[in-house]
């Protein structure tokens, strides 16, 4: 039995799903008779209570000051540290998003406590605190780490590594909350969404990636066509990102994004160690490459040794046929 605090991430008033996943993990760790508190910041904060309640939260600490509408790591971290005192929690969980990673680390320094990053498994030991498993070396290995003594024990959770477990009909009590005022010296002023709404590889359940084997940037259309047929995102190897064929946001690997979709299709990618580190935990891996000795085939569930220029258009057509029939 424990009190667990979760930071809720809201963007444009909308509650981000990884935060709800964190609330459900908090419910499990809090146990019977434990309490789950969730901190919501900004105008309309109390509006988070319904969704947070259904994911398992008992209370929403609602700091509705519109000063929180503009994201600033310093004010968010200070508010989270204040909420820790208000809640009296033993554990703090934060979704490991761009925002969550920032805020959790600042808050841990402010509270002089230990933070476990990017967990894919988490549990509360009998003696209290937290222990969890996380990928290191971008997934080339996994480590179990713990915060045995420092309190609150903190962790960020890898988005989509945990499920939202609905508690139908459960409502969270709204507790108005006023963190001590901290002025933001650097804050978010605007968000630019790319004109063509592309699915981000970090959030996609299907990814089709292209590499050097495509020979020229214009041939990425073959990868895009297959991604579209599958309803997936477009990824890329480091080699083609470095060559300027496609922006870094698409890069999968140790210096790009580490992904674990249900289907990963590698097209013309040889499988350098740093690329394999970023995708080899995918559920199903398809490799299409001319070179039968390419390392990518070692991690592939299905492989085709062949020319991407011949295989991709045919595969796209076959997939489209199946999608149309089902």
């Amino acid at each position: 039995m424990a009190t667990v605090l979760v930071l809720l991430e809201r963007r444009g008033g909308e509650l981000k799903r990884p935060s709800l996943q964190a609330v459900s993990v908090a419910r499990r760790l809090a146990g019977d008779g434990g309490r789950v508190d969730a901190l919501a910041l900004g105008d309309g904060a109390a509006g988070a209570a319904a969704a947070a309640g259904e994911a398992g939260a008992d209370r929403v600490l609602a700091a509705a000051d519109p000063g929180f509408d503009a994201y600033a790591p310093e004010t968010y971290a200070a508010a989270l540290a204040d909420a820790v005192r208000e809640s009296g929690c033993e554990i703090v969980l934060v979704a490991g998003t761009a925002m969550g990673r920032d805020v959790a680390a600042r808050a841990a320094a402010r509270l002089t406590t230990g933070l476990l990053s990017d967990l894919v498994e988490v549990e509360r030991p009998a003696a209290g605190g937290l222990r969890g498993r996380r990928p290191v070396y971008s997934g080339k290995a996994f480590a179990w780490e713990a915060v045995p003594e420092a309190r609150p024990a903190m962790a960020t959770l890898r988005p989509n590594a945990f499920a939202v477990v609905p508690v139908p009909g459960k409502a969270a009590e709204v507790v108005p909350f006023s963190p001590s005022a901290v002025t933001a010296r650097v804050a978010a002023t605007r968000i630019e969404t790319p004109p063509r709404q592309e699915l981000d590889v970090a959030e996609a359940s299907v990814i089709v990636s292209g590499g050097r084997g495509l020979k020229a940037p214009e041939h990425f259309s073959l990868v895009r066509d297959l991604a579209q047929a599958l309803g997936g995102a477009v990824g890329a190897s480091r080699a083609v990102v470095d060559a300027g064929w496609i922006p870094h946001a698409h890069q999968v690997g140790q210096t790009g994004k580490v992904v674990s979709p249900s289907l990963y299709v590698a097209c013309g990618i040889s499988g350098a160690i740093q690329h394999l580190a970023g995708m080899s935990s995918s559920k199903v891996i398809v490799a299409i490459n001319k070179d039968a000795d390419a390392p990518i085939f070692k991690v592939a569930t299905y492989g085709i040794v062949g020319d991407v220029f011949e295989v991709l258009p045919k595969l796209t057509a076959e997939i489209a046929k199946i999608k149309a029939e089902s």
Partner: protein
């Protein structure tokens, strides 16, 4: 304007990772060590700010044992003006807060206008030191920046968030934790490598900076390699037959479409 770039000494991203005998960390024997790639992007952007005359001095800073000196010399060779090494072997394996405290102690003495770090040190992949440093130094920060503009004591930074780009603005001093920037890190020239030998590399004992407590709050229990993937199946036949069979397997057997 002074920029201090914090760099971390890490295993090459192309290195194969083996588990050490204690079962808790990597066996780094024979592994090539490099400056963490995101720190290299940070250094490149700092050097460009100096070249555009927005900055006057670029200092590199690292914490750890003797081995860290190699990364500092490398940073001097590509163009940093001088280096500071917070020397304490225990820091090489310390947790992020301990490392952030050591770096913060050195940074207080430097009082820079901008502190640059990478968004994460590749390997440990925690991404904690940058934001923690900012908190310890009471500086605002931007995490995961891909571009910055510095103009008259004002900072504008672009950072990638899930599916969008967030623009952050405010006043210096500040800390920026870099994602991949717009410019490829430069290589050290022979001239740069020679010049680096004469540049100041100030080695300070962590205890002289008042850093004594490096007891970790986060402890590593074990480290293991990921489970091996079951052997895959190579589909044969011409492109058309193989593509048809693959689509069928994805639909019927793997059930992912």
């Amino acid at each position: 304007m002074k920029i201090v770039v914090c760099v971390k000494h890490v295993p090459d991203t192309e290195a194969r990772i083996k588990i050490a005998a204690d079962g808790k960390g990597p066996d780094l024997s024979g592994v090539k060590m490099i400056i963490s790639p995101y720190d290299e992007y940070a250094l490149e952007e700092a050097l460009r700010l100096r070249e555009s005359l927005a900055a006057s001095e670029v200092v590199v800073l690292a914490a750890g044992g003797d081995e860290v000196g190699a990364s500092l010399r490398q940073a001097l060779a590509v163009g940093a003006d001088r280096a500071v090494h917070v020397h304490e072997p225990a820091l090489s394996a310390a947790d992020p807060l301990a490392r952030a405290r050591a770096l913060a102690a050195a940074l207080r003495a430097e009082a820079p206008d901008l502190v640059f770090t990478g968004k994460t040190g590749v390997g440990d992949d925690q991404g904690q030191v940058g934001p923690m440093l900012a908190e310890l130094l009471d500086l605002p920060h931007v995490g995961g920046a891909t571009k910055v503009k510095v103009d008259g004591g004002r900072l504008t930074a672009w950072r990638e968030i899930e599916g969008a780009v967030e623009i952050m603005e405010g006043a210096l001093p500040a800390l920026v934790a870099w994602d991949k920037g717009e410019h490829e890190p430069r290589y050290a020239s022979l001239k740069g490598i020679m010049a680096a030998k004469k540049k100041p590399l100030d080695v300070r004992k962590a205890s002289d900076l008042g850093v004594t407590d490096v007891k970790p709050l986060v402890v590593r229990e074990s480290m293991e390699l990921p489970p091996a993937r079951p052997a895959g199946r190579i589909l044969t036949g011409d492109a058309e037959a193989a593509a048809r069979e693959l689509a069928r397997l994805l639909h019927v057997e793997a059930k992912v479409i």
